[in-house]
Every structure is written in C-alpha cells, then in structure tokens.
C-alpha cells in the first residue's frame, strides 16, 4: 500500500491550520497559518494560544475563542466560530491589527478515545467584514452582487449572534446541570450515545469518559441489567419511564461491583418532527436512603418476628398511654380480634377485681414515668382468668421526653399456683411442725414431769429408807438391850429355880425359857431382813441419783474383768463362762459392769443341779445400738415370771438361794437409765437368755429419761 505523506499534505494546504494540545499549547501549524498570522514557526510552537496571541480576557473575542476550546474539550465535538473579532500583534511589534476570523475547532482522539489535540482551521475574513461595513456606511457599493454579499454577511452575523446567545444559555444550563445535585445525562439516537453527563452522573457511574459513546459501550455492565431495553422502549414508544428505588449494579472505580438504588426518569426528547431524538436521564442515587430503609425494615421485621415468636405478650403505647401495638401472642392468648384492645380497651380484659388497681397503677406510671409493674388476672381465650405479671418501661428521646412505652405480660399463673401450693404446703409443714413442736414440748413436759416424779420417788425412797432405818436402829438396839436384860433375868431365874423352885410357875418358866428367847429371835431376824430391804431401796435410789459418765468401753475387757471378779463363784459351781464376739459401746462403765456382773452372777446362781453350767455372752452391732445376750443352760424361768423377775423384791422358782430380789430390778433400772431395754427368753429346765440392748453411744443429755 502506498503511504501518504500527511505532513507534506498538511503543509501544502492553502487553508491555515494550527494544532493545539488540550492545554491549548501550540503543537504545530502549516505554512498557510504562519502566513496569515504573520508569525514564524519558532515564535509559536510550544506557546499557549493566548500567550502567542494575547487579548483582553474581557473582550468579546477572547471569551468566544476560549469558550469554543472548552466546548470542544468538554463535549468532544467540533465547534464553529462563524465570525470572531480577534486582533493579532503586528510582527514588528508596532501594535495590533484588527482582524476578523471564521474558525472551526475539531477535536482529535487517540485510539483509546481520549482527546489528545484540537485542530483549528481559521480563515481571515477581515476584508469581507470591512466590505460589509463599508457597504453599510456608503452607497458606493451597490448592485446585486454587493447586495447579496452584504445580505449574506448580515445573515451570518445574525446567526452568529443567536448562536452566541444560545451558547451562553447553553453554557449556563450546562453549568446548572453540571452542578445539579441530582444526576443528569442525555443520550441521543437509537444507540443512546451520551451527549451530556453531569458531575453527579459521572460520580454515580464512577467514570468520566462518556460523551460520544453509546450507553452499551460506556456502561457495559448495565446491558444485562435491562437498562438498554428500557432505553429502547422509551426511544421507541416516546413514553417516559419512572423508576423508584431501582437496583443497579455498577462497576466501581476499584473494579468491584457496587449496588446502587436509583430514583430516575427516562424522559424522551422529541425533535421538531415529533420523533424521539434522544432521552433525557435525570434522577437521584437513593442507595444510602434505601439501605437505611432496608435496614429499618429488616430490623422491624426482625423485631416483629422476635415479638411474635417469644412466649410473652408484648405491647406498646404512645406517650399518652394509648396502646397501639400488641404482638401476635397477645391475640392468641386473649383470643380477641386484632385491634380490639387498642387504646384503653385492654383494661376490660382484666379481672373485674384487678381493673381499677391496674388502671391506677398504669396512670401513675404515665404521670411519673416510673416503670409499670403489676400482677393481675388476664382473661385467657379459654375464659379463665390467669395470673399475669405486667411490666412496662418508657423509652425517652434525647430531651428525656417519653416517646413510647413498651410493655410485656408474662403468664405466671402456674408459677403463682405453684407458689400458692408451696405456701400452703409450707403453712401445713409449719403447722405440722408446730404440732410436732407442741407434741415435743408436751413430751418434754411429760418427760420432765416424769423425771421430777422419778426424782421425787428416788428422794422419797432415800428418805423413807433413812427414816425407816432410824427406828430400826432403835428396834435393834433395844432388842440388844433386851437380850442383855434377858441374860440378867435368866441368871436371876436360874438362881431362883435353884434356891426357891416353888416360886417358879409354869407360866414364868415358859415365858423366860422359851417365849422371851423366841420373841427376841423373831424380832432380830425380822429386823435383819428389814435392814436388808431398806439397804436395797437405798442402793437403788442411790444408783438412780448417780451421774452417768459416758466413756468408750471395750466390752471384751469389761467381761473378762467380770470373769475375774466372779472367779470364786465360777470355780465353786464348776460353770464355764464363754465370752464370744462382743461389740464395744460408749456408756457408763460402772452401770454396764453392774448389769453384766449381775446377769452373770445370776446365771451362776441359778444353774440346773447335775448339769455342768455353761454361760455364754455374745453381742451384735445393730448400727445405732448394740445387743448383748447372756445365755445359760441353767434351771430356767417360768414364762409367767418373765416380767415379775425384774420387779423389786420379787423372785422366781425355788427360793434356795441367797438374795433379796433386788438384782434384776437393779439391772433393769440401770439398763433403762442407759437408754436401753432388757428382756428374757427362757424355758424351765433348759436355760435362760437375757437380752440387753443399749445405745451404741450415750451422751450425758440422753440420761434425762
């Protein structure tokens, strides 16, 4: 392909051309331009247009030229200046020469579509202009051609003036549009080529190079989102489209997709022939507003969902207490139609006995702003009045004024019922505890009465035994004195019998020889017996008054000691004492010794004659108590005497052994004092088993009984 030398072509052109960069610095020019401006290439290249050709910035020519350049830069379209007065300096520096020009400014773009330079084609029309002026002031120039020329020129000037006015208006409008807070753009033709886009629009779409590009090219991401179809429709139908909160995804400056919500209008622009020539786009980015709205709606929905899903009844009121919200649960619970409890109608849902109280309380809360807290009975949909805990809190604004009240109702019926039951059962428990305490008090009273009586009896026994003893001492003493006297009498009687036997009558003989001795003998044996009985009572009463001293007792040791002290009796009777396993006990040592000493001694005493005696002592731990058994193979006890043997002065079976019937009575008294029991099992002729049960551990206080 044959290449064309554009530079040579450019230079050879008779039309003057100059090339400027977007900063209006002169980049180059052809020969024609140098000729018409009377300048050299060196004078112009690299200089700013307005430096190279200075002019008064307020002059009409300066403004026109600058505005034309700016239009080209901003709109990237060629601009024409049909006529412009612009003086240029003379080459010799001798002032300026007035010139009239007609110029065309053409933008030049690189491959990326960016404006790289502006080409000015300018024609010096000064002569033409002077001719016109001359024609206006003289009649010299006449004839049809002159007229035509003049007329044409006038027309051009008129157009130019109109253009200038329009241009100013356009400029003004453009400035307005540019600064408008809403976004504004215009697209023209069926491909919707951007002809205008203000700062807000460029901001929304996040890019500036829109002018001259079809929408599908400038904003490729909107194609799939249906906006081209929308523009097509408006273009075809001539019907405007109004979108509210339309969601749009735009490629952000950082390459990420951004979600926008836009309110906008696609307004068709009609040409004179009534066809749609383009579309005017105007609107607002409502993304933030929309987001806030969405967030609000979301949070409201969430609140509603929460409010309706929770088990509580929730309500809200205006600052004056007018109920304007209840959650779903309220309506489910009460079974009343939605809205029927708005205002103050809620009060009617309460139990008649609670209405006034609740109303007053609510009023007081409204007046004072104090939280509302009350328990009342609320009518359930079942018709039952159920106990409910009502609470409410005011919400205040920044000035501290109450803006709303939020309240809840919580069904506490079951809880309250349970509380009631609990209270009742507690009352019953208290009652029964009281009863128990009363019984215990009565018991304690009885016990202390018994103790007192017991003490009294013991004191009585003690005093009685003393008091009985005192006369007994006399009976014994004077019986002795009597015996002394008897001796004297007998001596005297013997002497009389020897010396004067006739004085002795049979009566005197009987009295002195038998009656006296017999009487004294009976008195003596009786007093001895009585003394023993009194001693026994004394011993028992004394034992009852003894203070018990609990101590740990090794039973096997204690029993071995008993074996030792009874060694003589055991040896005499030939009986064998077997001490088996015995649990230990905490008790009064002396008392325990006496109990087992007596029982073992009894067993030795009442063996079956002709059968070698065997006495076994064993025991068992029962937890809180211990049980001991003293078993013998002795003569046994008749069943009718099982109780009797424990009574004082009572004995059983053949009375062939020494004793006053005190031993077992004493044992039982001791066992009882230790808090235990004693019983007997026996078969006559086979043996007896005495069972003693004692507390494993006695304390001093348990001694009371």
């Amino acid at each position: 392909m044959k290449s064309i030398n554009f530079e040579a072509l450019f230079n050879a052109s008779p039309n003057p051309y100059v090339l400027l960069n977007p900063s209006l610095n002169i980049m180059g020019m052809n020969e024609a331009y140098l000729r018409v401006t009377m300048r050299t290439r060196e004078e112009l290249v690299g200089r700013n247009m307005f430096e190279a050709f200075p002019s008064d910035p307020d002059s009409e020519g300066h403004r026109q030229l600058r505005a034309s350049f700016e239009r080209v830069i901003a709109e990237k379209v060629p601009d024409h200046l049909p006529i412009i007065e612009y003086a240029i300096p003379l080459p010799d520096g001798q002032g300026f020469e007035e010139r009239f020009w007609s110029a065309t400014h053409t933008p030049l773009f690189n491959e990326a579509g960016e404006l790289i330079s502006i080409l000015q084609h300018t024609v010096d029309v000064t002569e033409l202009h002077q001719l016109r002026k001359f024609a206006q002031t003289s009649a010299l120039l006449s004839g049809p051609s002159a007229l035509i020329e003049t007329d044409m020129f006038r027309r051009a000037q008129a157009v130019q003036e109109v253009n200038q006015t329009l241009s100013r208006e356009r400029q003004h409008l453009q400035e307005l549009f540019e600064q408008a807070p809403g976004f504004i753009a215009a697209v023209s033709g069926p491909d919707h080529v951007f002809t205008m886009a203000n700062a807000a629009y460029r901001h929304v779409v996040g890019r500036g190079d829109l002018i001259g590009k079809p929408v599908r090219e400038a904003l490729p991401e909107v194609v799939e989102q249906g906006f081209i179809r929308l523009l097509d429709r408006v273009y075809r139908s001539g019907e405007p489209f109004i979108g509210r909160g339309v969601r749009l995804h735009l490629q952000g400056a950082d390459g990420r997709s951004e979600e926008h919500f836009l309110d906008f209008v696609y307004q068709p622009i009609f040409s004179r022939d009534g066809n749609v020539s383009g579309i005017f786009v105007q609107g607002h980015d409502v993304t933030d507003h929309r987001r806030a709205e969405n967030a609000l709606r979301e949070s409201e929905e969430r609140f509603r969902a929460i409010a309706n899903s929770i088990d509580q009844l929730i309500w809200a009121t205006r600052p004056d207490g007018f109920h304007d919200y209840y959650n779903q649960r309220w309506y489910e619970y009460t079974g009343v139609p939605e809205g029927s409890t708005d205002g103050a109608a809620w009060n009617g849902m309460f139990h008649a006995d609670d209405q006034e109280r609740a109303w007053n309380k609510w009023r007081r809360s409204l007046e004072t702003g104090e939280p509302y807290h009350i328990e009342y009975r609320l009518r359930h949909r079942s018709g039952q009045y159920r106990w409910v805990l009502g609470r409410a809190q005011p919400v205040r604004d920044e000035q501290g004024r109450i803006t709303r009240w939020y309240g809840t109702c919580t069904d506490i019926h079951d809880l309250k019922q349970a509380q009631d039951d609990l209270r009742k059962s507690r009352e019953q428990a208290v009652q029964s505890e009281k009863e128990t305490l009363r019984l215990a008090a009565t018991l304690a009273e009885r016990v202390s009465e018994l103790d007192a009586a017991n003490d009294e009896i013991q004191r009585f026994a003690y005093i009685v035994s003393h008091d009985l003893r005192a006369p007994l001492v006399n009976v014994m003493g004077f019986t002795s004195e009597l015996e002394n006297a008897q001796e004297e009498i007998e001596k005297f009687y013997r002497r009389v019998s020897e010396t004067q036997p006739d004085l002795v009558t049979p009566e005197a003989r009987a009295a002195i020889e038998t009656d006296l001795a017999e009487a004294i003998g009976f008195i003596r044996s009786s007093t001895v017996k009585m003394d023993k009985l009194i001693n026994a009572i004394l011993k028992l009463s004394r034992e009852g008054r003894r203070v018990l001293t609990p101590e740990p007792i090794s039973m096997s040791q204690l029993l071995e000691a008993q074996r030792h002290s009874l060694a003589h009796q055991l040896h005499e009777s030939g009986a064998k004492l077997v001490i088996q396993t015995v649990p230990d006990v905490v008790s009064d040592r002396l008392a325990v010794e006496q109990v087992f000493g007596n029982l073992i001694e009894n067993a030795i005493k009442y063996l079956e004659p002709g059968r070698s005696g065997r006495i076994a002592v064993r025991g068992r731990d029962l937890g809180l108590s211990v049980r001991y058994e003293v078993e013998d193979n002795g003569r046994g006890i008749d069943e009718k005497d099982f109780e009797r043997i424990f009574d004082l002065f009572r004995r059983s079976g053949t009375q062939d052994q020494q004793g006053e019937g005190i031993g077992l009575a004493h044992v039982r008294a001791l066992v009882r004092r230790l808090g235990g029991t004693i019983s007997v099992a026996s078969r006559l002729g086979e043996g007896s088993t005495f069972t003693v049960t004692l507390p494993k551990s006695i304390s001093v206080s348990s001694e009371a009984a």
């Binding site: 003393h466 003893r469 005192a470 001492v473 006399n474 014994m476 003493g477 004077f478 007093t527 001895v528």
Partner: protein, 143 residues
C-alpha cells in the same frame, strides 16, 4: 497440854432412842464425861455459841445428820468455821453410808463418821471406842 479440863460431850440427836442407846454405850465403855444432849440443831447451836460455853471447852460433838430443823452438815460447817469451836472433834453419827455424804463430812472437817448400823454390836463397839478417843482428846489445829 494447856488445859486439863474434862471433855464435855455435846450430843445432837433428835431420836430419843438413839440418844439413849448412845449414852448407854458411852457409859458402858466407862466414859463418865458430862453429856449434854440436844434434840435439834437450833438449841445445840444456841448453846455452843453462847460466849460462856464457847470458851468453856474442850468439847466432843456427836452429831446426827438428820435433824428436824436443819441438816447436821450445816451445824458441822458452823462449828468448823468458828475460831474456838473448830478445835472440837466432831463425830458424825448417821443412818446412811452414802459415800458422797461421808466424803463431804470429812471434807468439812468431821473427825469420825459412824454409820448407825442395825447390827447393834458393831455400833456399840464404835461408840465404846470413842472412850479411848476421849482420853487423848484435844484436836490439833492442823486437822
């Protein structure tokens, strides 16, 4: 011995029989000292604490614990707390052989404690031994 005056026996015993038996046995033991018998505590104390009597020792006190108007122990305390009378030996005669009571009497300063036994022989034996006791009487203050 500063004093060679015979010992006066003060017998405080409410039981006439006992008193008679005691006296008989004392006499039978060959003791001829004066015996002043009192049937209750009040009269005995009145007598003993009379200034003339109080300074007119020495005394031997035979004391029964079971008196109608007071406990013999109270009399014992009063005697042993008196500067003069505390030197008089006190023989406690009683029907009880309660060890605690015996101990208490000794603690309070009783010199001899005799249980009135029903077995008369041992009783009169004990009384008679008092005769020996009386011959060496005058209780040292340390007792």
């Amino acid at each position: 011995m500063p004093q060679q005056q015979p010992v006066t026996i003060i017998m405080i015993e409410d039981d006439d029989g006992h008193a008679r038996l005691i006296e008989k046995n004392i006499r039978r033991a060959g003791v001829c000292n004066e015996i002043r018998a009192f049937k209750n505590g009040t009269a005995a104390l009145e007598h003993l604490f009379h200034e003339d009597v109080r300074n007119d020792g020495p005394f031997l006190v035979l004391l029964d614990l079971n008196l109608p108007d007071m406990n013999g122990v109270d009399i014992l305390v009063k005697l042993k707390n008196d500067e003069k009378l505390k030197r008089a030996p006190v023989v406690v005669l009683t029907t009880t052989d309660d060890q605690r009571e015996v101990q208490r009497c000794y603690d309070l300063g009783a010199n001899v404690y005799i249980t009135k036994p029903v077995e008369y022989e041992s009783f009169s034996q004990a009384i008679r031994q008092l005769g020996l006791f009386l011959s060496v009487i005058q209780v040292p203050e340390t007792l």
